[in-house]
């Protein structure tokens, strides 16, 4: 008997009942292995489009994105990129794949896609839907429902669609043309738009006999420091950040004082300070209560601000607006330090120092936003909690009034574009089910597909070699030019060569290692060759015990163990998914093809699904 079996014999009385082999038929198992896709709120098939970019099939790469996230060009520049911190490359290398900026490459280089867009039926299905607010959430609902024959009324108080994507995100990060193109694909499906139309009463809207109403009005109220001394007196030069950004976007405001203080540490603060630099602000400072490392802004946004000569002062709490003759002259701050309790909670303790006076001409307050629904009557059956946040079902996005749905920032407070899109998809499914009289809690399963990539002995349908390159940086336009032109895009994007090299850094996590017990002869070849020690043959144990018994301990609990059924030597094969490079060596070294590399496509089902998973459809489309 092998050593393992001897050990088993020695511990003869061992009862192992508390373990089970992995059910790879459950689509969520392999989905979770594709870290980026799993982390993406809309579950965009990231590695699939990255491979298409590497083979210069930009239009297809764009469509894979478009199907999932609706705004690839916008998101390729502005996405909060929850995928990147999740990316496996970041666990085995210094930095994750530049997923977001690769998306932009697909958008920048795509061909004409008009023929690839879904057909809109001329005969409508007789159902009428109202969408309130023309942000990404509502636009996604429109995109998903228009191909199904719905008639859609889209309301927004602004003159153009886009919501915060247009009013808040500055043009130097997101050129208007990019936004216009992608919104255009949706509006030209025949959406009935009602711009410059603020909805002032839900009751009135409901009286128009819509089959369903979707509320996508965002979180439009910027927080104020109303109680700070001098707030009222100096009001003329104190602005709420998001209102100010909106006025800049719609060109109601074109200049600002030379010395500007921006209060707040989130992404809104970063957009405010950088915009102020372009509107005449020469001495612009961001001043934040918390320590620098705990600021809410994304690291790359902070870097960009600092690069534009904007200092960030941390640990300063605003205490008073100082004014003279009705004019703001500065802001007074108290210096604090962060102290942490054992449970990790933070307190800002004032230092015993003199208050700090920062002289300035204008203040921009970017200290948060919240939901506000003054236009929804409180007695019509839509329930809100004590903070005026509506009570929404997290699965269906239905409110307590069955025909009224919420999504985007309006549903659960301010998040980001990709979350709004994900909400929009789910709400569209609910609205479609609701209008058809179906159970809206009966959610459609994802579309999945698992196909072998084997082409020959050492040949796979994907590029299995692992690149050693470090992450590539995206070049920026000259600061001398960008700071004088509010609309000039700062980031230049990857060129084709850089895009190819960056795409090669992707580990193809959707190409799954699939193990077939009956073929395995337990020769150890896979375990021996695996560069990252993912594979172990061992006695069956509980997952918890197994995690400590592997070739390399599996400490990352977020990542699954792939546990086989019992093999002839009464052992199991255990693969720790954590740092698998998807290099395919295990499958190449397997003499019986017990391991195979199989491409797993996972596509969240949408209302009005366009089947981009079907390669035939895809080829025909191109």
């Amino acid at each position: 008997m092998s050593g393992n079996r001897i050990n088993t014999a020695i511990k003869k009385n061992l009862v192992v009942s508390d373990w089970s082999s992995t059910d790879i038929a459950n689509p969520e198992y392999f989905h979770k292995v594709v870290d980026c896709q799993y982390a993406c709120p809309a579950h965009t098939p990231v590695p699939e489009y990255i491979r298409l970019i590497a083979s210069r099939r930009y239009t297809e790469a764009y469509m894979v994105n478009w199907e999932s996230n609706v705004f690839p060009g916008v998101l390729g520049r502005t996405c909060d990129r929850p995928c990147e911190p999740a990316c496996r490359r970041g666990r085995v290398d210094e930095e994750p794949v530049a997923i977001c900026r690769l998306k932009r490459v697909a958008a920048d280089n795509r061909g004409d896609i008009t023929d690839l867009l879904p057909e809109i039926p001329k005969n409508k299905n007789g159902k009428k839907i109202a969408l309130v607010g023309a942000g990404p959430a509502s636009l996604t609902v429109a995109r998903d429902l228009m191909p199904l024959g719905y008639q859609i009324d889209l309301y927004d108080e602004n003159a153009l669609a886009g919501g915060f994507m247009r009013s808040q995100i500055p043009s130097f990060r997101l050129p208007e043309q990019v936004l216009d193109d992608e919104i255009g694909y949706i509006l030209s499906m025949g959406v009935d738009t009602h711009f410059k139309t603020r909805v002032n009463s839900m009751t009135e809207l409901m009286s128009k006999n819509y089959d369903a109403i979707f509320v996508g009005t965002g979180a439009p109220r910027g927080k104020d420091l109303a109680n700070l001394s001098g707030r009222k007196e100096a009001d003329a030069n104190i602005h709420i950040g998001i209102d100010w950004l909106g006025s800049v976007a719609f060109e109601h405001i074109t200049s600002i004082g030379k010395r500007v203080v921006v209060l707040g540490g989130g992404n809104t603060a970063m957009d405010c300070c950088r915009t102020a630099r372009r509107l005449g602000g020469e001495d612009v400072k961001v001043i934040v209560r918390s320590p620098f490392s705990e600021m809410k802004a994304s690291p790359w946004e902070k870097e960009d601000a600092i690069h534009e000569d904007i200092p960030i002062l941390d640990n300063h709490v605003p205490k008073a607006f100082i004014h003279e003759n009705g004019r703001l002259t500065g802001v007074e701050f108290e210096k604090v330090k962060a102290v942490y309790a054992e449970d990790g909670s933070r307190k800002l303790i004032p230092l015993d120092e003199k208050p700090v006076l920062i002289p300035c001409d204008d203040v921009l307050m970017a200290i948060g936003q919240e939901n506000a629904f003054p236009w929804i009557e409180k007695d019509i059956g839509i329930d809100f909690d004590q903070w005026e946040v509506p009570l929404i079902d997290e699965l269906s996005f239905q409110s307590s009034l069955p025909n009224i749905f919420f999504g985007g920032d309006a549903a659960f407070g301010p998040k980001n574009i990709i979350t709004a899109v994900a909400h929009g998809h789910q709400a569209a499914i609910s609205i479609d089910a609701f209008c058809k009289g179906k159970d809206i809690h009966d959610r459609p399963a994802p579309l999945t597909n698992l196909i072998s990539q084997k082409m020959g002995v050492h040949e796979w349908a994907y590029h299995s070699e692992v690149s050693d390159d470090d992450r590539f940086l995206v070049a920026q336009a000259d600061k001398n030019n960008t700071l004088v032109d509010r609309k000039l895009e700062v980031e230049l994007g990857f060129d084709e060569q850089q895009a190819f090299a960056e795409a090669q850094r992707c580990l193809n996590c959707d190409i799954q290692t699939v193990f077939e017990e009956v073929k395995c002869i337990e020769c150890d070849a896979c375990a021996d060759v695996c560069p990252t020690d993912c594979i172990t043959f061992t006695e069956p144990e509980t997952e918890e015990t197994l995690r400590t018994h592997l070739r390399a301990p599996a400490t990352n609990q977020e990542q699954a163990l792939y546990i086989s059924q019992v093999l002839p030597t009464s052992r199991v094969l255990v693969k720790d998914e954590d740092v698998c490079l998807h290099c395919g060596l295990c499958a190449e070294r397997c003499p019986t093809a017990a391991w195979d590399m199989q491409k797993f496509l996972y596509n969240v089902c949408k209302a009005g699904q366009i089947n981009l998973l079907d390669p035939l459809t895809r080829n025909r489309r191109n």
Partner: protein, 350 residues
């Protein structure tokens, strides 16, 4: 296509006492057939050298010809290597060892390379007790030349060709024991838990350490009817017990009930511990080892484990009284010590 192994390793890959990871002991990616037992043995050698904190440049790998003899390319890429002529690894190893006794010598051979063409050389390197690990990757066939029966192929074992072997097999462990090898073990490529400690013991043993490793040839000798297939070996394997290797610096902490385990201290103070399944077995008894081999063979079993170890072995340098230093470090002064020394020698003859 991936003939290239990725550079990336597990982020928490262990580091040994001299600051190396297993990667520092790897060689190039194997070109052997997928699933060849030889690759597992290479991995076991990597693991053993890593665990022993061996400096790769202190190792010389020597081999003859065959798939097995190709494997030194696939482990210890930072060590010295000499891929010699078919069956002639022992004489090259002897020469190298005589010239530089400070190196660690790992000879890798096949059953063809050792039991057929190299039998004559093998016999002499054993009886000279050359300080080396001599490891045979035994698949019962000539893998490299497409699977002809070798001299270790069992009587009536059937290879892929389908013809039962008409000859009796040579048992290399038996021969090594008879010729006076000072450490003899047998193992299986599919059992690293046993193989790794055996290799570690062999590398610390002073003298000739022989390990015969059953190593299935998936391509030519892994079929039904073969006694060297993965399945056959697994079904017929019998072991003398669990071998533990405790390096000199480590304290022995676990204790077994008396009689069930036996500890053998090596020259460098390391301890090889045999947790025996057969309480009467004594790994110091050469004759008992031969008997046990015979007995298992008669019962149709494949006996594995540490068969014999002589902790007082005197290796070739000691037997010949050679200089303590590698030849390359000897200066002219060492070699021609001058008239005075000559006179002293002459006087000693008077």
């Amino acid at each position: 296509m991936s003939y290239i192994r990725p550079k990336i390793r597990h982020p928490e890959t262990p580091i040994n006492d001299i600051g190396y990871t297993r990667k520092n002991y790897e060689g190039s990616l194997s070109t052997l057939c997928a699933g060849c037992g030889h690759d597992s043995i290479s991995a076991a050698i990597v693991q053993a050298c890593f665990e022993l904190n061996i400096e790769p440049h202190k190792v010389a790998k020597l081999s003859g010809i065959g798939c097995s003899s190709k494997t030194p390319t696939y482990f210890l890429g930072n060590s010295h290597g000499f891929n010699s002529v078919h069956g002639r690894m022992p004489s090259v190893a002897t020469g190298a060892n005589m010239a530089n006794r400070d190196m660690i010598y790992i000879g890798v051979s096949g059953d063809g390379d050792t039991a057929s063409i190299g039998m004559g050389q093998f016999a002499h390197v054993v009886r000279r007790n050359l300080n080396m690990l001599y490891l045979v990757e035994n698949n019962g066939c000539y893998g490299l030349t497409k699977g002809q029966d070798s001299a270790t192929s069992d009587f009536e074992s059937i290879s892929k060709k389908g013809v039962p072997n008409p000859f009796e097999a040579i048992d290399l462990c038996g021969i090594a024991l008879q010729l006076g090898a000072t450490m003899v073990a047998r193992s299986f490529s599919g059992d690293k838990e046993q193989l790794v400690p055996l290799i570690k013991a062999a590398l610390c043993h002073e003298g000739f350490a022989f390990i015969d490793v059953m190593s299935p040839c998936v391509t030519f000798n892994n079929n039904k009817g073969s006694t060297k297939s993965y399945e056959y070996v697994r079904d017929h394997i019998e072991t003398l017990g669990v071998v533990d290797f405790v390096p000199m610096k480590d304290e022995i902490t676990t204790h077994y009930k008396p009689g069930s385990s036996q500890e053998v201290t090596l020259h460098d103070g390391s301890v090889v511990r045999l947790q025996k399944l057969d309480e009467d077995y004594d790994p110091h008894d050469r004759r008992a080892a031969l008997d046990k081999l015979k007995e298992s063979q008669e019962q149709g079993k494949e006996l594995t484990g540490l068969l014999y170890l002589d902790p007082d072995s005197k290796e070739l340098h000691e037997l010949l009284g050679t200089t303590q230093r590698p030849l390359r470090s000897l200066t002219e002064e060492d070699l021609c010590p001058g008239v005075n020394v000559l006179e002293k020698i002459n006087l000693s003859f008077q």
